[in-house]
Structure formats: C-alpha cells, structure tokens
Amino acid sequence: MQTRKKYIFLTFLASWLLLFFFGGDQLRRFAFFSGRKAEARRNWPRWTDRSLLKSFADPEELQSDGDPSLPSPRARRAAWLSVYKNSRCRMETCFDFSRCEKHGFKVFTYPRERDQPLSESYSKILTSIERSRYYTPNPEEACLFILSIDTLDRDHLSGQYVRNVDEKIRGFPLWNGGRNHLIFNLYSGTWPNYTEDLGFDIGQAILAKASFYTEHFRPGFDISIPLFSKDHPQRGGERGWLYQDSIHLQKKYLLVFKGKRYLTGIGSSTRNALHHIHNGKDIVSLTTCKHGKDWEKHKDTRCDKDNVDYEKFDYQELLHNSTFCIVPRGRRLGSFRFLEALQAACIPVLLSDGWELPFAEAIDWGKAAVVGNERLLLQIPSAVRCIHPERVLAFQQQTQVLWDAYFSSVDKIVHTTLEIIKDRLLPHRSRSRFLWNTLPGGLLALPGFSTHLGDFPFYYLQHGSSPSEKFTALIRAVSPSGSLSQPILRLIQAVSASQYCAQILVLWSCEKPPPPSGKWPQTTVPLTIIQGRRKLSDRFFPYAAIQTDAVLSLDEHTSLSTSEVDFAFVVWRSFPERIVGFPTQSHFWDAEQRRWGYTSKWTNELSIVLTAAAFYHRYYHSLFTEYLPAGLRELVDGLAACEDILMNVLVAAVTKLPPIKVTQRKQHKETVPQQVKGTAGAADGRRFSQRQDCLNQLADWFGYMPLVSSQLRLDPVLFKDQVSVLRKKYPRLEKP
C-alpha cells in the first residue's frame, strides 16, 4: 500500500517535471508567470531623433482652419435640410425650432376620433400629456404634436394593429412630413425576424420607441423608451421594493433568470445558452420550452428536464431574493423583465447586444445595471462575483432612484420623453447628466430655475457647498381692514431682530392698498411690500426679490419669538431640502371611509408643517409655480385653505421624507385642541372638511399619498434639561 502511494507520488512529480520542460511555452502565458521584468518588454523605441520629428500639422494650419472656397454656413445649413432627412434626421435638420420660440414648449394632441379604438397604454400616454403643464389644445401654439392614431403596436399580426396609417396621416393638414411630431411605439415588426419596421412612413417625426436597435436609432433625435405593460399605472406608481426589504448586502441568490427559451428563430441563441450558468445554488437560470402552440414540434432533448426544473422556482421569489437578474433579449431587444428587475432592485445584467437603452441620452445606466455582452455569457458569473459590495449597494439604490424618477408610471415615462426633447431646444438651459442621475431626478430639477447645482436644495453635499446663511421672511397680509394689525407689527419686530434675517417681504393680499411706508415699523433689515393678486397660490410665487436660499413663510397672525426663528433657521441649515417649521398636522388612512383623513389635533406624529410659520428652500416656489400644472393651482385657489397642504405634498413627493418640527414656545392658534365637529363652529368645520377634501384630491392627482409621517421634534440640545438657564443658548424657548 505504502509503496503504491510512493509510486503514484513519484509519477505525479515526474509528470510535473515533464510538463515544465516541454510545455513551458504554453505555461508562459499563464498569469502567474507573467511577472517578467518590465525592462524586458519590447516597448515602443525611444528614437534618438524623436525631438526632431515634425509636428502632425503646421501650427498655422491648425489655427486657421478655413477654406474660402467653402459655401457659407447659412448655405451649408440649408443644404443639410435636403440631405439629412428621414433616416438621417437630426434636430437641426428635421425639427422646426421656431415653432417653440413664441409660446414655449407646448404639446398638442390630435383630437381623438370616435371610430378609432385606442389601446389602454396609448390612451394613458395621451392622458399624461393632456394632464401635463405642457399641454395646449391649440395647434397654433404647439411645438410638438402627438397623433391620436394608436401606433404602439405595429405587429401586424396583433389585434391592436391599426391599418392604413400612411393614408390617414397624409390626410392630416398638420402632419407636414412629420416635422415636430412625436410617435410612440412599443412593438414593431413580427415573426419571424421582427424588423423594426413600423409599417408606415414616419418621415421627419421623432420616434419614441421601445427595443430600439442602435443602428436604427437617430442619435440626439429619437428616444428609446422602456417596454411597459398595459397594466402600468397612469400616475403615482408602486415604489421600488428596496423600500420593503430595505438594504440587504447579501441576498439569497447571486444571479437569476427564469423565462422562455426560444427553440428557433431570432433571439434563440442567447436564451438557449442561459442554462449553462445554472448551478442550482446561488445562480439559478431556468428556461422553459413551453410557449406558443407548437413548441413540441421543435422541442429538443433538454426540454423535458428544463421544464421540470422550471416549475421548482417561483419568479417573484427569485426576483425578491436575488442581487442580480439576467435581462436577456427576447424576440425583441427590450423586455418587461427590465422594468421588473429595476423595480425589484435586482440589478439588471443586460444581455441584449445593440439595444439602445431607455433614455440613455439622459440616464447613466452604468450606475444601475451591468451591460453584459451576449457573446460573453459564460463570463457573467465571475464578473458579477467580482463587483465590490459598495458598488453593489450603490447599484441597488440607483435602480430605485431611476425606477422612481422615470419609470414607475406612464406619466413619468411620458414626461421624461418630453423633458429630454425640451432640453434639446435650449442646450444652455438644459440638465447636466449629473442632474438626471442624482436624486430627486431630472423631472424634479428644473433647469429653468437654475443650472447651477448650488442653487438647488438637493445637491449641497455632492457639490461640497452649504446653503446661504441668511433668510428672507415672506409675510402674507390679508387683514380686510387695510391697516396694520398688532400681530403683524409684533411679528415684523421679532423676525427682523433675528441675526439671520436678510430682508422682509410683505405680500399684500388685501383689497385695500397697503398703508404708506411711514406706517410700517422701522426695521434694521429692508422691508418690501409686494402687491399680491389675492390668490392663495400667490404666496409660493418665485418672486425675484427672494435672493436667499431660505424662505421663512409667515401669516400675519403668526406669533413667533426671535429665538424660535433663530433656532429653526439653524436647524433648517442642516435639512435644507425639507420644510422646517412650528405648528404641525398629520394625515392618516381612514379605513372606514376608505379615504385619507386629516387631523389638526395634538398627535404623536406629524406629516404637515403649516406654512404659516415654516422655513423652506426658495426652489420650492419655482417648483410649485412651474412644475405643477395650472389646474392643480386653480384647485388650491378655489379652496379656502389648501395651499400649504399642496406645498407639503409637493416637498414630500420630491424628498420622500417627512417635514421637521422644531420647538415652539407656545402653541400656534391652529393647534389648540379642537373638536372635529360641533363646538369649534361651522366656519372651522367647513375649513376642516375642505382641507380633508383637498388632501384626497391631491393624493388622487399624484396617484399616491406622498406625505410621510415623523415621530420626532427637534429641540435645542439642552432643552428643559436640569442645568442653569445661563448655560443655555435658547433659554427663551423654555418660558411658559
């Protein structure tokens, strides 16, 4: 026994020796022998006369690159128009910018025809546009036109295929060769080769299409959109799943796929190979042959075993518990799977060569997905294993950022499409890639407000800056008498005494004209009176006079002390993206009435900070006025007291975070405990029910309830602590 072992060992060694003497040349290529000395490399020679070499171009030639024989720029541009058409369209040759100059970026949708059936998805798209702030019913004003013909499904075997589109389009007087038109499409081509032919001539129209192949994509002109199902919500949309599961560094599976395997035809080669990487442990890759009517005709030897394995795993379970999800091409390049994985925070591993990724003009997919190569499928497992945990964590979070910003509803997909086009119209007033790929996303960062990162409330940390050290107080005066009441005088005194106050603006919203300047109190800071239009939404208008980052919004009846203002402002500087204020209210889901309830009673939670006394970033004035459609502001103006709820809802929708309540010396008028009905009087009752209605209408408009509850209040560090008052910075806050 012992000798046999010895012999085996000897043979083993001998073979090693042999291998080294004769197989050295092959071994040399192995990585562990690559440690040859750098000097031994055959580098590019250091030519003795390298300093005498001539430059690649004569300096004069480089600096005066003109040719008098060339046609004039104007003539060249005119000539382009006729050369670069149709498949070679670019914005500068196929888009009429002048249409957008006078009225801005307005979108017109063709009137819907009764006999023309619309698919669910297309009517959602049209609804999105008609609800948006860019909609115009007047084609004269329009910059962009959307057809009422459903062009989503151009597979002529499909039931939703619309025939004779060419003929219909040519009948439209506005068509104009497709100029300034935007055409949406989800499916093009059909079995067997799924070409990207739409079955009609789109001419010079911009094509927003799913499953775009790079070669057909007109860069800077067309837009690749994601494939979404007919059940995709109109607005709001589900949150990403990272919210429910929270951040898990390690999930059960590393990489999963579960889906159809095409036995023949386009896309089959990729999916046929997927089973190779299945290891049954952390990599699960399952395919089934079962699809279509005659799959058994084509079935191969693997099919039966595959079909059995396939049933063992649940798709949803895999999606929830995997770090990476393979998103291979189907018959077409894009698939529903892409958005599903994105929502599930399962990092998409794309195996779809030549797919122009959705909104790639704006979105940096390298931060949220692994763009794999179909030909290198077998390398995918080792490649994803080598991605560092920090990067995985960042990937996971970015999937959620993108899902929530651009994909979770039809509204968002359509708006992203429109904003990308709008950005092209004014390149100098457009979003940088940073803005598109950073929270809260491009739709909520208005380049019209500023293109400078430091002007927004969201980017201070990434930008390495901090909000300005002063605030502007904006007091809304509504007293019907037209004179100055005691409370407003006291308020002006208290606020102007704050060391952080830069100026006071009084928004005069009374019928009578404001008192002459002599009647106003003398303050150390400038006091300006703005004549309002007596609309409630006025108080959130982006007045040019507001130059500080922080706005302190006040009502004339608000009672605040200087230390309250000081402390609140210092807190706001730590949370510049949130509303920081004093009196609060909260919302709750009323299960009985199946609607949102609202309470101003003392509660252990809060989700609304009244803008009668609150700090927030001035950007929210712009967002309120420019981002929200006019209809929503009209709704608010029509109700007695809803504008502050809308502001809270808007900020919560942007930040996904609750507002912040700070210490208040004595209770604000509104938070005095009051009965819901009866004792408080009819006026209060009406006001209360209006606010409740308002809340429900807003939740409906947003498609979900953006408000988030908080259980905390921020107090000064030594607030009511058993320590000498002399040591406290804000002793006045503790006085009863």
Partner: protein, 719 residues
C-alpha cells in the same frame, strides 16, 4: 483580483499528501529536486527571450530613418470603406480581450515601418512627433503588451493623425497588409484632422473597414456611437506655452473670439455682437503687419492693437470656438487651458470624449442659428456657475487635453470601460475636478428610505467580565418592543461565558459570539448574525435607558438611517491656545458626536469600520483600547457628510452605584487621551469631517402640556 486569489488559496493545501515522519526526508529531497528543476526551467524558458528582446529593441539606439522600408505593390488590396453600422457587438472581436482579473484591455503596437509605393515614393511622413508621443504613452501604460497573441486592441504605427499629410489609397493598402489586420477588427486608428477639400468629410477618408476610429471632429452623422471615440484636436501650444491656472472670477472681456480665417459670415455676426455690446466683446483676427520673425500664430490683432496668444484668452470669461472647415478645432484646447469657458458653435459636432465627459458643466453650446442671441444667452448663466465652469474647463484640459499621453490614455480607458462595464470609471471620477472630489461627499446610503418598523434592530453588547451588569442590560433591552435579536460579544479569552441556563430568559434570540482577541473593534464587526439593518451598540453598563427611550431612539434612527443616532452627546472644539482639537463632554449647546456606548446605526457602517477605515486608525484604536466610538463618528460623518442625531435629554446613563466609574471617565487623563484621538483621526482623514449641530430629537409631544398617558413615549428623560 480578490475573487481570483481566493480560488488559488483554497486549492493549495489539498495537493500536499499526508506523510509519515520517516518518509519526510525522502520527500523533502524529492521536492527540492523538483523545485530546482522548476527554477532551471524558468531560467531556460525565459532568460534567452529577454536577452533577445532587449538586444532587438531597447538597448540599441535607433533613428526613425533606420526603420525597415516596405514596398507596396500597386495592386495590393485596399480595405473596405468604414462601415457606418459597426458597433462593439458586431465589428469588434471581444473574445480577444477575455476575462481578466485586472479588467484591463491589452494593447499591441505594430513596429514602425516606412511605406513606399512601387516607385519608391513614400506614402506619408513616417511618423509625426505627436503620434510618436502617443505611441510612447501607450507603450508606457499598463494597457500595453508586446505579445501580439494576447492583444485585445491593435494600434498601427502608421500615422494618420492628419489626413492632409498622407496618400489615402496607399495608406489604406499599408493598413491592409498589417499582420493581424483581419478586416481591421480590433484595430484602433487615431486621427485629428479628417477630411480635405472640397467637402471636408468629418471622419478620416482612408478606407479602414472595421477599424475603430478615435477621431477629432466627428459629426453626428459619421460618429458611430459606442464604437468610435471622439477625441480633441491636440494643440501643440499646450506644450510650448505655460499658462498658470488663473483663479475664477470676473475678467476683462466677457466674450472673446480669437480664431483666424473665420468664415466672413461668422465674422460679420461676431462684429455685429461687438457693435451692440461694445467693450466687453473682443473680436480678434490675424495680424497683418507683424515684423519678421514674430510667429503669426502667437499674436492676434484687433484694429491696431496686438495681443499675445494664447495669453489673451485668460482675459475673457467666455471664448468662442466656431467651426472652421472642420468641426474639431485646436483652439478648444487653448481655450480650456486658459480656463476660459468655451462657447461652442458647431452644429452636429460630437464634443471630445462626449461618451464620458459632461460638457454642460464646462461649456456653453449654442446652435449656429442662435449666434445673434449669444450675448443674452451667456448673460443668463449665473455667476457662480461661470466660476465652476472656468474651473471645470481647466480641469478637462489638464486631465484630457494637455498632452498626447492624456488623449491616448483617455481613449483607451473609454474602450476599456466598454469591454469591462462592471469595472468602469464612474461619472464622478471622469468629471469632478480634484477640488470637488475632495470637498464633495457621496453618501453610500443615498436612497431616502424609512426602513419598516417591523424589521426591528439587533442589540450588540460588548462585554468582558461584568456579568451581573451585563445581565441587567440584557433584561432592560429585551423590554424594547422592536428588539429582534440580542448579540453578546464576549471579548474575554481567559474566561468562558456563563452557562446557557444562567442567562436571562428573554423573548428574542440571544447569541453569544466569542472573539479571538480582546479588541475594541470586535464591537463593530459585521457579524453574519446581524440580520437587521439597524444595530444598537450598547455597553454592558448602560442600564439607565428606559424602554421608551430605546424604542424612540429606534424610531428616530428609522427616519435617519444613514446617521449615528445615540444618547450621550459629545463635542469637539478648536483650542485656540494649543492650536489643536479638544474633546468636550460638558453640558454644551452643541453636539458633534454621540457615544457608541448607546447608539443606533446602520449595519453597513460595521462593514465600513472593519474593512474601509482609512489609515491605521483601526489598529491604533485596538492598540490604545480607546476611542473606537470617536473613530466611528469620524467614519460616518466622513462618508455621509451629515451630523449625528442625539436623542432625548441628558441624563446619567450608568447605574447610580457606579458613579465612581463615571467619575473616572471624567478624569483629566481620559480627556487628554480623547482629545489626542480627535487630533490623530483628523490628520488621518486629512480633514475634520464632524458636523456640529444645535439640535437633539425628542418625541413630538415631549414636555408638552398634554396627558402623559396619551403620549407614545411618556417615559423619556425620567431617572
């Protein structure tokens, strides 16, 4: 790299057979022989090669004129024209690049030859200074390989930087006869001046089949997105002139145009702008009456005034870069170098490295049609943004325009990122200037989430031998509703933890982890047992925290999951006398740290503390047995850029009978040591990351005049 090495390690031990002692000598001898054989093999295999290669290449000094001459027959094959539909997945052979743990492509450079036609007339200049610099840079980089079989990218030494300096057909023939040409697959050509009269094509006219083109001056019609790389037109002035970086801020002129030979139509539009806006617009042109010997390229004139070029560019806020016959202009490089914000007016131009660089941060692009509105457009740019653009412009020049080396390496990196996308360089790395990289913070937990309450938290108690106190802590903490697991880290190697039966019976799982060494960092190890995101670190003597306080702390953490949320607050101060940082534990109005003797934080920070703590801080803490909490505060503040949250009023946290210990911690030497820690950490981090705030978190109705029984957390702050 990590993954690869791990595999080798696991294989190692299995190969060594078990042996008996008496055979050991025999085996050792045998093993030595094998080892010698191996070494000999190594010498034999590799020694001669290196001698051969060095004699061939580096030792011998050679001139460009000595390179071998290749005669191209007139009928030698010409490659197909460039294929406009080429993309990485169609025309590129990715198998050549393979999987490699370093995620680096390998680039081979063909050796230099001189090409002549049948009549002996040369096809082009053998090589230009710039192309030689470029190839040298590639050769010196880690992308380079001299082994043609291992190469992923092939770079011909045939110089095509300037199309006007070569003969198109013959150059194409020269390309086609390269040893690995194979229709140009995986070949990379560098071209800066494409096209020629009369039509000035925007891409190199040399037929090149599937070769990748790194070109200066692509238009959207010739640029194959994701395949070609758009590169700058190098300006040789970069090397000649030293323009020191100028601080951002207002400059003498608002708009400056310095280009010569502009089309008269452009010039008249510019002059109209000048007429309208006066002094702030300066339109320069070629000087007509320069004395001999003054190089025309270094002077510009306006009427009779003479300006030095490129220095004059530093005098303006915006500098116009108009297209000429070609789209790419060398002046762009000069403008960036001067820190002047380029105003690019060249419809359909693909900006250099636009695949990775965010030009909106460094330039203003204006459509040609809008030239008359240029002044008002530029005036709408906020002043602070202009300053950032100036800094950004200069940074782009320094990183990607400055030299042929910078251009070559950026090009290869872009191709590398396409082949290994999962290891690609991020947007921030490409675009943020060093100053921004330094001052900005990218929070690793950037997604605003409020984790569900149901998940609960894991309490981790670090203990040594205070069993009685430990059991009291366990009993108290177990009363907190959201506790989901309790983990005791037993840091005493000399003593076993008490028997199972002795531990308090609690409603959640209790695990004891024994450590190998008594180290403070054991408290922050990311144990697999931690299944929740929230971790409560608590000392084994903190028994005074009420269940309400702990539960409230957890609720606060849920609202700030990326922060340290804790009870005892501390402050760092700048000691002006000593000129260094000082630790403060007195009753102050501010906090900048919370002690991890009782604090909630995200499990991810355990991972960071254990594996990503900068410098030697972790070892330093273990050696000094102190300041692990300060280190954690530094770490979290540094990665998130956010302050801590102190919860609930100040109180004594330790048991009243242990006041002696409390007294000890206030001891002067303790304070000195803690101050030392702050100074040490600040120097390792290179900055003071801690943020000072004046607030703490209390329940909404804390101390409000409201019935206590209706409050969620009534039992707060009571001793």
């Amino acid at each position: 790299i990590m993954c690869a090495s791990a595999k080798y390690n696991t294989r190692g031990p299995a190969l060594i057979p078990r042996m008996k002692t008496k055979h050991r000598i025999y085996y050792i001898t045998l093993f030595s022989i094998v080892l010698l054989g191996l070494i000999a093999t190594g010498m034999f295999q590799f020694w001669p090669h290196s001698i051969e290669s060095s004699s061939d290449w580096t030792v011998e000094k050679r001139s460009v004129h000595d390179v071998p001459v290749v005669k191209l027959p007139a009928d030698s094959p010409i490659p197909e024209r460039g294929d406009l539909s080429c993309r990485m997945h169609t025309c590129f052979d990715v198998y050549r690049c393979g999987f490699n743990p370093k995620n680096k492509i390998k680039v081979y450079i063909y050796s230099l030859k001189k090409y002549v036609d049948e009549y002996g007339t040369s096809v082009s200049n053998t090589i230009s200074r710039e192309y030689n610099e470029l190839l040298t840079a590639i050769s010196d980089s880690e992308f380079y390989t001299d082994d043609v079989n291992r190469a992923c990218i092939f770079v011909p030494s045939i110089d095509v930087l300037n199309q006007n300096a070569l003969r198109i057909k013959e150059t194409a023939q020269a390309l086609a006869q390269l040893s690995r040409w194979d229709r140009g697959t995986n070949h990379l050509l560098f071209n800066m001046l494409p096209g020629g009269p009369p039509d000035y094509n925007t891409a190199l006219d040399v037929p090149r089949d599937r070769a990748l083109l790194a070109g200066g001056g692509f238009s959207t019609w010739t640029y194959r997105q994701g395949y070609d790389v758009s590169i700058p037109v190098y300006s040789p002035l970069s090397a000649e002139v030293d323009l020191p970086e100028r601080g951002p801020g207002p400059r003498r002129y608002f708009i400056l145009s310095s280009q010569m030979a502009l089309h008269p139509e452009y010039r008249s539009e510019l002059e109209a702008l000048q007429a309208e806006n006066g002094e702030s617009v300066l339109i320069l042109d070629k000087c007509t009456n320069l004395s001999d010997g003054v190089p025309a390229v270094r002077k510009r004139c306006h009427k009779n005034q003479v300006f030095d070029y490129p220095q004059v560019l530093q005098e303006s806020t915006f500098c116009v870069v108009l297209r000429g016959a070609r789209l790419g202009q060398a002046v762009l490089s000069d403008v960036l170098q001067a820190g002047c914000v380029p105003v690019i007016i060249a419809d359909s131009y693909i900006l250099p490295f636009s695949e990775v660089l965010d030009w909106k941060r460094a330039s203003v692009v204006i459509p040609e049609e809008k030239m008359p509105e240029m002044y008002s457009i530029l005036q709408s740019v906020p002043q602070r943004q202009i300053e950032e653009m100036q800094r950004q412009a200069r940074w782009f020049w320094e990183a990607y325009f400055q030299s042929m080396k910078a251009i070559a390496l950026a090009t290869l990196q872009i191709i590398n990122d396409r082949i290994y996308p999962y290891a690609a360089i991020s947007y921030e790395e490409w675009n943020d200037p060093p100053a921004v990289k330094w001052s900005s913070v990218s929070n690793p937990l950037f997604l605003p989430l409020i984790p569900p309450q149901s998940q609960g938290f894991t309490a981790i108690v670090l203990t040594y031998d205070r069993v009685e106190s430990l059991f009291r802590v366990i009993t108290e903490v177990s009363k907190v509703p959201s506790l989901s697991k309790l983990l005791v880290v037993w840091n005493n190697q000399n003593k076993n933890p008490p028997e199972d039966s002795l531990w308090p019976k609690i409603r959640v799982p209790l695990k004891v982890v024994r450590t190998a060494e008594n180290k403070l960092s054991n408290r922050f190890f990311p144990y697999d047992e931690i299944e929740t995101e929230a971790v409560l670190a608590i000392d084994d003597d903190i028994i005074m925290l009420t269940s309400d306080e702990l539960q409230f702390g957890y609720e606060v953490w849920r609202e700030f999951p990326d922060r340290l949320v804790g009870y005892p607050g501390r402050l760092h101060l700048w000691d002006h006398e000593m000129n260094k940082w000082k630790y403060e534990s007195e009753w102050t109005n501010e906090v900048s740290m919370v002690l991890t003797g009782a604090a909630f934080y995200h499990k991810y920070f355990n991972y960071l503390y254990t594996y990503k703590m900068p410098g030697d801080i972790k070892n330093w803490v273990d050696a000094h047995m102190n300041c692990e909490d300060i280190a954690m505060n530094f770490l979290v503040a540094n990665v998130t850029g956010k302050s801590v949250i102190k919860v609930t009023p100040r109180k004594k946290f330790k048991c009243p009978e242990c006041t002696a210990i409390d007294g000890l911690s206030l001891d002067q030497t303790h304070m000195v040591e803690r101050s030392e820690c702050i100074n040490k950490f600040a120097s390792v981090f290179g900055t003071m990351p801690l943020k000072v705030v004046e607030h703490r978190a209390d329940p909404v109705l804390y101390k409000d005049d409201f019935p206590e029984k209706l409050k969620s957390f009534p039992n707060i702050g009571s001793l």
